[in-house]
């Protein structure tokens, strides 16, 4: 996102609606087994970086890194 202001409900809706198909495919592809709330949380965490993505591959890589960071936080 261009700024760090909290998202309004419509902004949040469009953001999630836009990225969930790719995030869900990555969820299946990499065997994360994340449920719906966890996927939404991952997209919200990754949103600033996703806004800079230039391709679906780059976006997948951003989601993958976000997942790894979340796992790392979880393991600590």
């Amino acid at each position: 996102m261009p700024d760090q202001k909290p998202l309004t409900q419509p902004e949040r809706q469009r953001l999630l609606e836009g990225w969930l198909p790719l995030a869900q495919e990555a969820n299946i592809q990499y065997g994360w087994a994340l449920d719906a709330p966890a996927l939404e949380a991952m997209i919200l965490q990754a949103a600033p970086a996703l806004a800079q993505a230039h391709s679906s591959f780059e976006a997948r890589a951003i989601l993958w890194v976000t997942y790894q960071l979340q796992q790392h936080e979880h393991d600590r």
């Binding site: 309004t8 869900q24 993505a53 790894q68």
Partner: protein, 337 residues
Amino acid sequence: MTNAGGGIKRSSWLTFRRRRLLVRALLRGPATSAELIGGINAELGEQGYPEAAAAALKHDFDALKGEYGCQIDYDRAARRYHLADLGELALLDLPNSCMEALAFLEASFPEGSGLTEHANLRALLERVVLLLPTARQAQHRKRRSAIRLGVGAGGRRIDSDTLAIVKRAVEERRELAFDYLGTFDIDQPRRHRVAPYGITFRPEGHGYLDATLLDVTPKGGEAIHAAIDYRLDRIVAGSAAVLPTVLSPIRPAPPSYRLRYTLVAQVARRRDVAAYFPHTAISYHDDGSATVTAMVTNLWQARQILLRYGDACLVHEPSELVDLFRKTAAGLERLYL
């Protein structure tokens, strides 16, 4: 230490160094004996291969095979040697996190994808895997086999200048105008003026601009203030321009719909139904089927996603989406029945 002992030690070291260079040369790719000898002599000068180099080269190959378990194959047609397995010289090992990253790249750039831009990445991946010890290679292959889908490769290339202009408009929160060739624009693109809010990518590889339509010339079927996902590769290259007008603080909210659909037991019985929409809630039933509810604003996208289930999915609401499915079903009937 005697002179003779020192001489043997130096000779052994030179032999080891020559063989190490030989392996390194083969890691760069298949090579003829002349290329290998030339490359090693260029490195070692007088201490490289002697006059009768072919016999010495063969001796080095035998030593690499016998002492380190290297597998070096000879392609008779091309007259080239090829390093198939490093054996005990597989000196690269990686932490588990890097092995995960390797699996990610493997999944994203699968073998046989046929895309030329993937070719070099495939070569790099294969080379890195070759450097891993056998057990790690086996671990990697096992992980790779568990990954089924590759990166999407659909769609035309997105014009990089267009993408930069769109991103600038999003970041500066300014209106954007561009010529767009939509699905139903057969001949000529039309000029769209929009409020741009973000860029997303879908699994099939297409990139989209999420924008609110402000004006379009000539007019079409689009509703002003509708939220539209514009395919970035369909924006005519060279036509995008950031306009001076700054976006209003609050985006006109597109209509939001409660989505409810049922998936038959064949799809849902494993209780791993995917969440493709915001606020997804899934209820599994005793007969194995599942009812899914969610919130959506983009009915076209919802239809595209749910169509993947074929006749295993029944949409109950919103009625606007049910109508879209009826139209699709009528079209399919015309085509097939």
